[in-house]
């Protein structure tokens, strides 16, 4: 998240500053894409639709960073629902839970930063695959809480549940994830 500088970045984007907008985009887009990959099978297109809807209303937005994220993820959820993809088809996350870093498997040394990035990317994809194995409502709430960084109130407004129900569902999902992670050895 951008943090304390969010206000100035948002103001810059609202004035039409492309650099500020790019900073907003790069901050939110990975979380947006990961969230959409859990709830839809066509995450890239829906993400594009989401930004196409966010841009026209950017100048009129008022709020802090969390409100901005809540607004953006609300739009994303609506766009996914509009496309009719979020309900009938489960997302397709092309991740093998046993996937390892190819360079290590081939015994080829890689630059430390490249290897680190690759490891992180693989770990992210394997974690996404784990979450995608949860029931849809649990998976969505985990993504909104963990990836989007929203509090139970905002998540409840997005998914149509009370904050208490969100909290209970999230805890249940985490317990299940813990069991799945232990079995799959995700982080090893």
């Amino acid at each position: 998240m951008i943090g304390a500088a969010f206000g100035s970045v948002l103001a810059g984007a609202q004035r039409g500053d492309e650099t500020a907008f790019v900073r907003l985009f790069r901050d939110v887009q990975p979380a947006l894409l990961r969230y959409l990959r859990v709830i839809t099978s066509d995450a890239e297109d829906v993400a594009g639709d989401t930004w196409a809807s966010v841009v026209p209303g950017l100048r009129g937005f008022r709020g802090d960073e969390e409100a901005f994220r809540a607004w953006l993820f609300t739009i994303a959820r609506h766009r996914a629902a509009d496309a009719g993809r979020s309900r009938n088809r489960r997302p397709a996350i092309p991740v093998d839970p046993n996937e390892t870093v190819l360079t290590e498997a081939a015994g080829q040394p890689a630059a430390p930063d490249t290897a680190e990035v690759a490891l992180e990317s693989i770990a992210t994809r394997r974690a996404l695959a784990l979450v995608a194995g949860l029931p849809p409502d649990q998976a969505e709430i985990i993504m909104l809480r963990v990836v989007a960084g929203l509090d139970p109130g905002d998540v409840g407004r997005i998914v149509g549940k009370s904050p208490g129900a969100v909290r209970v569902t999230a805890h249940r999902a985490l317990r299940r994830l813990a069991e799945m992670a232990q079995r799959a050895g995700v982080t090893q």
């Binding site: 990317s121 990836v147 982080t187």
Partner: protein
């Protein structure tokens, strides 16, 4: 069902307070959402879970930013002077953009209203210039005080000039009449005799000639609006002595012809 009614072993899918992994781990689970460091004595599966969640919110992969160009293009489009406007919608999470169809309907309604207003203005202008068909002109006369309709007869064979003709204007030199009929417009009559009232914009004419029509056959309202014209003895009344609202290239009568017409008995108007 309350917890005392069943043991955790009987309902393993439901977390009870006394069950391992039940509500006792909730503080730990809440800590996971903040991606905070778990205490060292936390169960190993919780540490695994914490690492998985940290990976879930890990740094961006370059492939995840592939849509940046498209988003930036959309932003640039809207950031142009015609784009990001203060009136742009969606000021908050609960607001959505207004469908484009509504704007189209609004524009169509506005265009229809403008067209209607323009048609009304044109109609009123036509009414005051006496260019409307007779029944409509009569209605306009009664409702908005437009000039009365000009009296016309079917199959007119001759047309007389109107006020737009140079001869109709005072002081101008009239051209010799091209027809044997004698006509007098309201304006011309007014300019020569000073007795015939003319309505603003009136273009009615009277022509002398053979035929059954006489001004007395008009309703009093219309008759009072017509100029008093008398036909000269030599001038044979046209069968279609009429008043018309249409402009005509026919030249106006000369002053002498009008004087002769006034001297003719039988035209009382």
């Amino acid at each position: 069902m309350r917890p005392p009614d069943a043991t955790p072993n009987e309902m393993p899918g439901i977390p009870f307070p006394g069950r391992p992994g039940g509500e006792h781990d909730e503080p730990l689970l809440d800590m996971l959402f903040g991606v905070r460091v778990l205490p060292p004595d936390a169960p190993p599966e919780m540490h695994d879970l914490a690492r998985a969640l940290a990976a879930l919110a890990g740094p961006a992969d370059p492939s995840e930013l592939a849509g940046e160009a498209a988003a930036l293009a959309a932003f640039t489009r809207y950031a142009s002077p015609a784009g990001l406007s203060p009136r742009s919608p969606a000021p908050g999470p609960a607001r959505h953009r207004r469908p484009a169809g509504r704007r189209t309907v609004r524009r169509a309604r506005l265009a229809t209203a403008l067209l209607g207003a323009a048609a009304m203005i044109v109609s009123i202008a036509a009414a005051y210039t006496g260019a409307l068909p007779e029944p409509i002109q009569q209605v306009a006369h009664l409702t908005i005080n437009a000039p009365p309709p000009a009296v016309s007869h079917p199959a007119p064979k001759q047309r007389e000039h109107d006020q737009s003709s140079p001869a109709a204007r005072p002081g101008s030199q009239p051209a010799p009449p091209a027809q044997p009929a004698v006509s007098a417009s309201g304006a011309a009559a007014g300019s020569t005799t000073g007795s015939a009232p003319t309505m603003p914009g009136s273009t009615g004419h009277l022509a002398c000639g053979p035929g059954p029509w006489q001004p007395q056959s008009l309703p009093p309202v219309l008759r009072s609006a017509l100029p008093k014209v008398t036909c000269p003895p030599s001038a044979t009344p046209t069968p279609t002595a009429k008043a018309t609202a249409k402009p005509s290239p026919t030249p106006s009568p000369s002053k002498s012809a009008l004087a002769t017409a006034k001297a003719t008995p039988g035209w009382s108007g």
